[in-house]
Point group: C2
DNA sequence: CGGAACAACTTACTCAGAGTAAGTATTACC
DNA sequence: GGTAATACTTACTCTGAGTAAGTTGTTCCG
């Protein structure tokens, strides 16, 4: 389909000089006046997000470039190839999750209620960034598993630190912190994937179920 | 008949590889005698696994076909495109994991020791199928997240059934079985990914750490 | 026994998208 | 005003997925 290539261009820089068409027409070559980039890394990534939300996880870099109002080499200059775009967006999503999480549990002591807040915040951010989540966890790149790890690390390491401190202050072995953190993030990862695709359980209820597993464990007595 | 000279060329002697001269001679066209396929679905998938182990998760379908001693359209006829190859291999890996798991916990009652056996079996199969694991969890296809779900489902649903029965027999709510199953599988998924890439903790020790989380939960007292 | 029909392939293509080399317009500097 | 630097675009190459058309041997029927 070539339609996607020409989709986002509103006007093809019409030669009629009817007026100052300030639309997101593609920049002309040449060094700009301000000495600054017109479309910086931030804006490219914003455009990438928009394109992903619109076209799903299979958007091409070309489409992202068009959405940003530039051409492919500019995307390469600002952020890099497909893998690096995905990595950058991974970090964005991880940061977004971490902000929501810390906002949700700020000041609270570690306990079951805090755990539920943590889980709900996670689920809600994923739900609000569905296409982005699918993009960074799948996409079309070669290194997906490594990027999954990359994304996970951004969530897991802060969590591991919290866990390690907490365990230490309770006089318990802190060596479990890292595997536990990856475990919890992995749990959230797959449950989120299942949830946004095949379940309509409300987030708080799902969080309660997960909290029951994580807080009390499987043991019945 | 114009090209009697090129008839005898066994293969194109792949220019890039200097590997094993195993190169199975490609079949000539024509209906075979037995009326059966010479290279069936099973053999194609075997070849795919071999190619993945040799070339890593980025093998092309072409390379898989060559490894199988056939050409691309045969691969398409037997198993399908890249996504379907990956799905089929996902099921293979999931079955392999499930066999190991059931062999490990057969007959044992559900308890902490059984949980550890379950986890160790999982980790060991993943470690023994490292490249395959990376292929099915990453690969290069469009639908990776959905295939991840596909792979996970093959492990999660049997587990969910076990959990549901166990919860019911203990007079506890069985509705948590499905989210818990996805949670446990997701935990194993990401921990495995982290483990085979960045950790050298022995499998039994890692399994113990995870078991501590899953069995007793985070609660300290 | 001699075709027509068919089955199982291979060859050779199309198509899309990632990544890059070369060209062009604009500004800055001396 | 001319030269260098800069910020782009155009236009390419290259790889790999997926497919259409051709080729060779087998079977079935008269």
């Amino acid at each position: 389909m070539n339609a996607s290539a020409m989709k986002a261009s509103p006007t093809k820089a019409s030669p009629t000089k009817a007026g100052p068409v300030k639309v997101t027409t593609r920049r002309r070559p040449g060094r700009p006046a301000g000495g600054q980039h017109v479309v910086n890394r931030q804006l490219v990534l914003d455009a990438a997000e928009r394109a992903i939300r619109r076209d799903g996880p299979t958007v091409s870099l070309e489409a992202i470039a068009v959405e940003a109002g530039v051409t492919k080499p500019v995307v390469y200059a600002r952020v890099g190839g497909r893998a690096e775009v995905a990595n950058a967006l991974s970090e964005r999503l991880a940061d977004r999750i971490m902000s929501a999480v810390f906002a949700a549990i700020q000041g609270k002591p570690i306990g079951r209620a805090t755990l539920v807040s943590f889980l709900v915040a996670n689920l809600e951010v994923v739900a609000a960034n569905r296409e982005l989540f699918l993009y960074v966890t799948g996409g079309t790149s070669d290194d997906t598993p490594l990027r999954t790890l990359h994304l996970a690390r951004h969530s897991a390491l802060p969590l591991a630190e919290v866990l390690a401190n907490w365990r230490s202050s309770n006089a318990r072995d802190a060596a479990v912190a890292i595997p536990w953190a990856y475990g919890v993030i992995g749990m959230l990862h797959l449950v989120s994937l299942w949830w946004i695709n095949e379940s309509d359980t409300p987030a708080p209820q799902l969080a309660e179920q997960l909290a029951e597993l994580l807080w009390s464990g499987l043991a019945t007595e």
